[in-house]
């Protein structure tokens, strides 16, 4: 790498050569070319440039790319041609990363607020790293000493600079249970968790790279190895890869369709993938569960399922005890029943109706060919067991689907009946098909129902662990006869925290095995236990689970160790059950991405957290409004990946190729702050109270940091370089001890610097059929060892917190929170949708129609941004300056709105309301909140009038406007109130999803009227000039180097107060 430092002079010179200095002289367009002015202003391209293989961080996916560096400046990014899915593509989010990195909105030094909170009074002073870490540590330690460990909390999410592990473990390290992320329950947690509950395998999300199989065999390099593309029918249920993952899965979808793959797209919006679909089902926002049940009704009635799979690999034939809502066990239901000798204790025998005899019969687990010889399980069945009329799980599903004839579903979901039928026929008629389930349901009350329903569909169809299916597993197959039966460990990603501290029940293992594991930890008798695994830590970590905010009702959140967001906000507002007081936020614009943003703003500004620490590469609405201290983080082009990033079976490096200011990897500040706070707190263990226990840390036999401390926390950049070199040193011929400099020299211009896993070690199938060490097929990681289409774990979870809270227990959920007779529903059902447009024949499935808010609204990503990122990227904003609201021409005409008009959109969150107590519509289960929902003023945006949504439906993406606190604004605001759909979304009353507590970002109701452009919002392309990369910044070549030149150290973020600030 050229280490030449970029000076102001050389930067301007480079720009001038390229003819890029614009009228103001302050902006650089792209600084991409050398020399020449022939027509295109171009010249030769390579010259002093070098490139490095890297992997784009512009969205949640990861496109391999090449980053070109010239004189220490990133001058060009392009997609890597060898990438197996994006195949050389790179979308505008990736291309615009140059502008993100060199944005004038970067935070390059630690900043401390000097004025009052609020955008209008925001002012900052630059402080040193040591001062910043000390300030954070002192504030945390003082607060914990005064109020106990639960006064501290963390958050993460919102796009960019993700610090998931650090955010989850930082509060644990300081003895607090509170952490949240605006994604999580609203993004991916429900789908990944239900997959774990139902079969212990990969879920149906394309965006989160769980669904990889359809993109196999697209690349010429892989085709040459004989790898084939096997997905011929793909259902995109509320997913729009062409928009959300534009160059990766978007490119993949373009390739799939070009190869003849047929697609069914379920989406209220005429998204690009809907435009190109074989069949488009423009479902009414929020009504997906009813549509799913109409599929079940047809498939079960017409026996379109895979008969062998549904009978022998799912729990659909199991007879369910109506009292417990759990499957009857043969041993409990049949007097004198003896479990067959060859059946291991960890594999229960259930009951079914034997189709051959019509009698109730035990259904042992095993190779279908053998089990068939003794019993032929009936799918739809009802029988009397121990005097109780007991239905098979399939029969329960069928009964729940009874109202959902195709005609009723068409009426309810606003989709033509013949299209629903055609979609079912295409899906069920394929030799193999697969469903890819997008984010929409995570943002609705049906966050658990929809993934349960959709994974169940693929399961009863037998579209699982097969070439061409979406639910497949990657990696080498276990050897025949050697592996134990699969189990699932709980708490945290993949059971990580469970394994670290011992908490949680290992599902699939016997009760005795679980008890023995806990006892060994408590007794300290396991010689191999790591030092942080011991009785006091286990007890403390378990206590954090029991006391976590929102776990009374929404326990699926345990899977990521997160709190329920509205419950956190309520705790901040009311101090009940405890008041979170010092906040460490680890990414993104919370006001853009949190539902009911106004409620959060009010909670913070009205006697909210006393000190707010942020770490982020940018100034966003959140930082400008409320941060008291900001740690500067690296952007992608500076950041070295802590591990291998992948696309299918290809791993690409992620080297930081430049460095600016005093930015650090996102894993540094949490570690340094926790370490520093621990030193202060460990001097006062006698007087520091552990949370709600009332006991001191000394009495609890604990000290700081608890357990493992900050997971993934590091002290310096060198540590991440070591992992990078470990992963890619081999292909570059580097030794283990190689340094960053060695890597950057060796990787220069090496397009082949990546790793490939051989296809046969990656694309594998039929995992459940491999013989386990007990002689039975492996099966799946559930209690029954089968696919639990009837989700038994939901029932147990809602009653005791099992398996997460084991060895301790929670009481049952508030019965009003459960839609299955007070428990979490084990199948897809249709909970009452709270805010709906006028629907014919809605029956009991919808709350009363509110004519004040007659229109349904939903949202979805646009190409230009990921989550809350990049609203400061000028080349994105000039193309998409505002979050255009999509509206049908008939609806627009009704409201006197023309294409391009500014409109105002209101909801209950901007108008207020009086909810009636006792109707299930209370704002809070505890009933402690005032019954007023007005949190902010209505939002405004531009109407895009076209036949792209149905009449009565609106569609718009989240937004925030960083221009609102630009120095040029006479009246600065935080820019989160003007055009942000999250001002009107519903996170304040309790129609939360039962399992995950997901609130309603989509599928609620609004009103709309013609309006005016807000004065402080920019629309014209040239207005975005202040967002262009600017030479007002100075870029320092090495991490942490504060050069002895005052001019060069000028903080780039100059947000002088409008008035009243320092």
């Amino acid at each position: 790498m050229q280490e030449a430092t970029l000076t102001r002079r050389s930067f301007v010179k480079a720009a001038t050569i390229a003819g890029a200095v614009l009228a103001g002289g302050s902006a650089l367009t792209g600084c991409l070319q050398q020399g020449g002015s022939d027509g295109g202003g171009g010249g030769t391209q390579v010259g002093g440039r070098v490139f490095y293989n890297s992997i784009c961080h512009g969205c949640i996916q990861a496109c391999p790319c090449k980053v070109y560096v010239e004189d220490g400046v990133v001058v060009k990014i392009e997609g890597h041609p060898d990438a197996p899915t994006n195949l050389g593509s790179l979308c505008l989010k990736g291309l615009n990363q140059i502008h993100t990195c060199y944005s004038p909105r970067r935070v390059l030094y630690p900043l401390r607020r000097t004025g009052a909170r609020g955008a209008a009074t925001a002012a900052w002073e630059r402080i040193s790293w040591d001062e910043a870490v000390e300030l954070a540590a002192v504030k945390i330690a003082e607060t914990i000493e005064k109020y106990g460990t639960y006064a501290f909390f963390c958050s993460v999410g919102g796009g960019g600079a993700y610090s998931f592990m650090q955010a989850m473990t930082t509060p644990m390290a300081l003895g607090s249970p509170t952490v949240f992320e605006p994604g999580c329950a609203q993004c991916y947690l429900p789908r990944i968790t239900e997959a774990a509950y139902m079969y212990g395998g990969a879920d149906q999300s394309i965006a989160d790279c769980a669904v990889l199989e359809p993109f196999k065999g697209l690349a010429p390099l892989e085709e040459a190895k004989g790898v084939t593309q096997d997905t011929k029918v793909l259902v995109l249920w509320a997913a729009q890869p062409s928009v959300s993952q534009t160059a990766q899965s978007g490119r993949g979808m373009a390739e799939l369709r070009a190869r003849g793959c047929k697609t069914i797209v379920v989406d209220p919006n005429f998204s690009p993938d809907a435009v190109k679909a074989t069949i488009h089902l423009p479902v009414r926002p929020g009504s997906d569960a009813a549509l799913i049940l109409s599929w079940y009704r047809v498939i079960l009635d017409e026996k379109l399922y895979d008969e062998e799979f549904i009978k022998f690999w799912t729990n659909m034939p199991f007879l369910i005890n109506p009292g417990t809502k759990l499957p009857w066990l043969a041993a409990e239901a049949i007097e004198g029943y003896t479990i067959p000798a060859d059946m291991p204790e960890d594999t229960p025998v259930y009951l079914c109706v034997d189709e051959n005899t019509g009698q109730v019969a035990p259904l042992p687990f095993g190779d279908p060919a053998k089990v068939k010889a003794t019993v032929n399980p009936q799918v739809l069945a009802t029988a009397t067991v121990n005097g109780a009329e007991s239905k098979s799980a399939a029969q329960i599903y069928r009964d729940e689907a009874e109202p959902w004839t195709l005609a009723r579903a068409a009426e309810f979901c606003w989709v033509p009946e013949d299209r629903i039928r055609a979609a079912i026929d295409l899906y069920t008629g394929a030799e193999v098909a697969g469903i890819a389930n997008g984010v929409a349901s995570d943002m609705e009350e049906t966050a658990s129902q929809v993934p349960v329903g959709l994974m169940g569909l693929d399961m009863i169809m037998g579209y699982i662990n097969k070439p061409g299916a979406t639910m497949t597993q990657n990696g080498p197959l276990p050897a025949e006869g050697e592996a134990p039966r699969p189990t699932m460990f709980w708490n945290g990603f993949g059971g990580m925290f469970g394994q670290m501290y011992g908490i949680g029940y290992e599902v699939g293992a016997t009760k005795e095995a679980n008890e023995a594991r806990i006892k060994a930890i408590e007794d300290g008798t396991n010689p191999e236990a790591p030092p942080f695994q011991n009785g006091p830590t286990l007890f403390a970590m378990n206590q954090l689970l029991l006391d976590r905010l929102g776990m009374k009702n929404h326990r699926g959140l345990y899977n990521w160790c997160h709190s329920h967001i509205p419950s956190v906000r309520e705790a901040i507002e009311t101090g009940e059950p405890f008041k979170p007081r010092v906040w460490f936020d680890m990414s993104g614009n919370k006001f853009a991405v949190l539902g009911s943003a106004g409620a959060w703003y009010n909670a913070i500004m009205n006697d909210g957290p006393e000190f707010i620490i942020c770490q982020y590469p940018m100034i966003t609405s959140f930082q400008i409004e409320v941060a008291d201290l900001i740690f500067p983080l690296e952007e992608w082009l500076e950041a070295t990946g802590a591990s291998e990033f992948g696309q299918l079976n290809y791993g690409f490096p992620s080297p930081g190729v430049i460095h600016l200011g005093e930015t650090v990897p996102n894993s540094v500040p949490p570690k340094r702050v926790v370490d520093a706070a621990s030193v202060l707190l460990n001097e006062k263990l006698d007087s520091v109270t552990f949370g709600a226990t009332g006991k001191s840390m000394t009495e609890m036999e604990l000290q700081f940091p608890l357990g493992l401390g900050v997971m993934g926390g590091i002290n310096s950049e060198e540590e991440v370089w070591a992992t990078q070199i470990a992963a890619y040193g081999g292909v570059l011929g580097l030794d283990e001890g190689a340094t960053r400099e060695d890597y950057l020299e060796a990787a220069k211009n090496r397009a082949d610097a990546y790793n490939v896993t051989p296809p046969d070690q990656y694309w594998t199938y039929g995992q459940h059929l491999v013989t386990a060490n007990d002689g039975l097929p492996m099966g799946f990681a559930t209690e029954s060892r089968k696919c639990e289409v009837y989700n038994t774990l939901h029932i147990k979870l809602s009653r005791t917190g099992w398996p997460y809270c084991y060895p301790r227990e929670l009481g049952p959920i508030d019965p009003r929170a459960g839609t299955w007779g007070g428990d979490y529903s084990p199948i897809c059902n249709v909970p009452v949708q709270k805010e709906v447009p006028e629907i014919a024949n809605g029956g009991d499935f919808v709350a009363p129609y509110d004519p004040e808010f007659p229109l349904a609204i939903t949202s979805g990503r646009v190409y230009y941004f990921h989550h809350g990122t990049m609203r400061h990227a000028p080349f994105a904003r000039e193309l998409y300056p505002a979050p255009f609201v999509r509206i049908n021409p008939a609806t627009a005409a009704q409201y006197g709105i023309a294409d391009g008009d500014w409109v105002e959109i209101s909801s209950r969150r901007t108008q207020g309301s009086e909810y009636v107590k006792g109707t299930g519509l209370e704002l809070s289960y505890s009933g402690t909140k005032e019954q007023n929902t007005k949190t902010a003023e209505p939002i405004r945006t531009i109407a895009y009038v076209a036949e792209v949504v149905a009449p009565g439906v609106l569609w718009m993406e989240r937004f925030w406007n960083p221009e609102c606190f630009d120095s040029s604004q006479p009246n600065k605001t935080g820019g989160w109130q003007e055009c942000n759909v999250n001002v009107i979304t519903n996170a304040i009353d309790c129609n939360f999803n039962e399992v995950f507590g997901s609130y309603t970002n989509r599928g609620f109701t609004v009103n709309i009227k013609k309006s005016e452009r807000p004065a402080n919002v920019w629309i014209e392309p040239r207005e975005f000039e202040p967002f262009m990369p600017t030479t007002a910044n100075e870029y320092v070549a090495d991490i942490g180097v504060a050069r002895d030149n005052k001019e060069l150290l000028t903080p780039i973020v100059e947000f002088a107060a409008t008035e009243g600030g320092a």
Binding site: G42, Q45, G250, P272, P1021
Partner: protein
């Protein structure tokens, strides 16, 4: 005569605007100036019986290029080696005569989509050059081992296209990428379209299957 152009597969294009941004970075185009566009051709019909497509639009490399005839200074010209229609900005006097002459441009070159664009800051008209500074000698069949290889280079809008929709090359050369893609589309029975305008004979080609949408040019 060589007939260099882009061939764009509208069955693939998702309207993502990445080509616009790739162009801006490559050619140092400032805010408010554009050398290419993506025009959504909005649905006709009534929801849900609708179809739509997107037309990426840039200089159509017309055989009878009226811009060259109209230009008073010779600033609009063809590359003597490969026949690509270009503008020499040194010769352009900003008179805007070429703008109304071009059927794909707005009269003032300032309303999207307009393939010729009036750059107010520099007082010149600009447009897509097919990245001739990269591609002058290229057949458009990209060398994936060296994307800068001048014999095979492609414009960044083609390389980065998120849908693999764009191909570059000389339609008179059957081995060029553009020709290969067109031949394949014709063999598959997919419709090959042009944005017709009287007498100009555009070289740019668009592929759009009836199963996706009925071709209606740039729409309204």
């Amino acid at each position: 005569m060589p007939k260099r152009t882009l061939v764009i597969d509208l069955d693939r294009c998702s309207g993502c605007d990445s080509c616009v941004v790739a162009c801006k970075f490559e050619n140092n185009i400032g805010l408010g100036n554009y050398w290419n566009h993506v025009k959504p051709v909005n649905p006709v019909g009534t929801h849900p019986n609708i179809d739509m497509y997107w037309v990426p639009l840039q200089c159509q490399q017309c055989e009878n290029s009226p811009c060259i005839t109209a230009c008073p200074t010779g600033a609009s010209y063809r590359d003597p080696d490969n026949n690509v229609v270009l503008i020499n900005k040194e010769e352009c006097i900003g008179c805007k005569t070429c703008l109304p002459a071009c059927p794909y441009s707005s009269p003032e070159g300032n309303v999207r989509p307009s393939v010729r664009w009036f750059n107010v800051e520099e007082n010149v008209t600009e447009k897509c050059t097919l990245c001739n500074h990269l591609t002058a000698a290229s057949d458009g069949v990209e060398n994936t081992e060296d994307t800068t290889d001048p014999a095979h280079a492609v414009p960044p809008c083609v390389h980065n296209c998120s849908c693999g929709a764009r191909s570059y090359g000389d339609l008179e050369d059957p081995d060029s990428k553009a020709s290969q893609v067109l031949a394949r589309a014709e063999a598959d029975g997919r419709k090959v379209c042009m944005i017709e305008a009287e007498g100009v004979m555009p070289a740019a080609r668009y592929i759009l299957s009836e199963s996706i949408a009925a071709w209606r040019g740039l729409g309204d």
